[in-house]
Amino acid sequence: MNSSKRKMLAANELLVNELVKIAERKGRVLYDFTNELITQAIRADKMGLTLKEVLDERGIVEEAKRSGFTLVFKRLWYEVLDRLYEGSEREWLIEEWRETGRWYGKFSYSRSPEDPLRALENGIRTVMWDIEDFEVTEEEDLISLRCISAGFSEAYTSLLSTFFKGALDALGYELVDEELSKGIITLKFRKKE
C-alpha cells in the first residue's frame, strides 16, 4: 500500500530485525509488510480483540480441525442428541460421551503436559461456542468445574457433564460432588490416590 505521507515509528530493535528477516524471506518491502501487519492488528482492535486473542483462537481452531472436530448447527446437534437420549440408546449415548471426554482429557494432556487442566479449560472455552460460562478452579486438593449455558437441553446438560467427567478421569481425577440442573453443571473432583 502506498501513502503519500509517511512517519517514522520507533520499535523494539529485536522485533524490527525479525520483521526485516520475515519480509525479506517473503520477498516483501518492509514498509508494505509492516503496514499490512499493523492494519490487521488495528482491525482486530476494532473488533474489541487483541491480536493475541485472534491468534490464540486460530491456533486452537486449527488444532480442532486437525483433530476431527466439525461445525454443526447447534439446534440440529441438540435435536439429534435429544432424540437419541429419549430413545433406547441412552445408556450407549452416555458411554460414548464418556469415551469422547476421556479422549479430550488425553488430548489436553498432549497439548500441555505441564498444565493439562488449563489446556482443557482454554480449549473448551474456545472450541465449545455454545458454553456461556466455563471455569476450572483449583482449591487445595479440590478441582471445581462450572459450566453454564441457558440454551442447553436437559439431555445435553447431562451428556456434557458425562464428557467432563470422562476428561477429568483421563487426567487422573475422581468425582467427589456433582450438581446438575438444565443448563448448569457444577462438578468437584480430587486427584485419584
Partner: protein, 196 residues
C-alpha cells in the same frame, strides 16, 4: 510482553497508521511504544501458521459469522455415529430439519450480505469454513449453476443430509434445484434462478 531489548529502531510507516495506533494505544491505556511493540510481536506470531495475517483475520471473521449463525464445533466421529444410529429410524424428519436449517441459513446470509452476490458468498463460506469439505466448486453454466462438493470424511447419511441443507440454502436465495446427484462424500447440484 515485548521482546527484551532496550534498543530501538525506526521504521517507516504511513502517517494515518501512526494516528490509528496512537488512538488504539490510548484506548488500551498503554504507552505508544509498548502498545506497538506488543502488537508487532503478536503480528509476527502469524508466521507460526504460515499464513498472512489478513487471511487469519478473514478466517476469524468467518468463524464469528458462523458462530453468530448458531453453528458450534463438535466431534465429527461422534456426529457421524449418532446420525447413523438415528437416520434409519427418522430419515424423513432429519431431512426436513436439515432442509429447514438451510432455508434459515440462506436467509441469514441474505440479511448479512445485502449488497453482495449471495451465491458467491455462500460458495466461499462452504469452501473456507465447512471443514469437512475438501473441495467446493461453483461453476456458472448456460442453464444455471453447478455446485460440486467433495469430502473424504463425511458418512453417507451426513452427505445426504448436507444435500438437503444445501437445497434449503439454494431455494431460500432465489434458485431452484433442477438435478441432484449424491453419493458418499460427493454432492453435485444443478440449479437455476427461480422463474416467477
Amino acid at each position: 510482553m515485548a521482546k527484551s531489548s532496550r534498543e530501538k529502531k525506526l521504521i517507516r510507516v504511513p502517517s494515518d497508521i501512526v494516528a490509528k495506533l496512537n488512538e488504539a494505544a490510548n484506548k488500551a491505556g498503554k504507552s505508544f511504544y509498548d502498545y506497538t511493540s506488543e502488537l508487532l510481536e503478536q503480528a509476527l506470531r502469524c508466521n507460526e501458521f504460515g499464513r498472512p495475517l489478513k487471511e487469519i483475520m478473514d478466517f476469524f471473521e468467518l468463524m464469528t459469522l458462523q458462530r453468530n449463525a448458531g453453528l458450534i464445533i463438535t466431534f465429527s466421529d461422534l456426529l457421524n455415529y449418532l446420525i447413523s444410529l438415528l437416520y434409519p429410524k427418522q430419515e424423513r424428519e432429519l431431512h426436513e430439519k436439515w432442509y429447514e436449517a438451510g432455508v434459515w441459513y440462506g436467509t441469514y446470509l441474505q440479511v448479512k450480505f445485502r449488497n453482495r452476490n449471495i451465491l458467491d458468498v455462500f460458495a466461499k463460506i462452504l469452501s473456507e469454513s465447512w471443514w469437512e469439505l475438501n473441495e467446493v466448486n461453483l461453476a456458472k453454466e448456460r442453464e444455471g449453476f453447478t455446485l460440486r462438493c467433495v469430502s473424504f470424511t463425511l458418512s453417507l447419511e451426513r452427505t445426504k443430509l448436507l444435500t438437503s441443507f444445501l437445497e434449503g440454502v439454494i431455494n431460500s436465495i432465489g434458485y431452484e434445484v433442477l438435478e441432484k446427484d449424491c453419493i458418499r462424500g460427493m454432492i453435485i447440484l444443478h440449479f437455476a434462478e427461480k422463474r416467477s
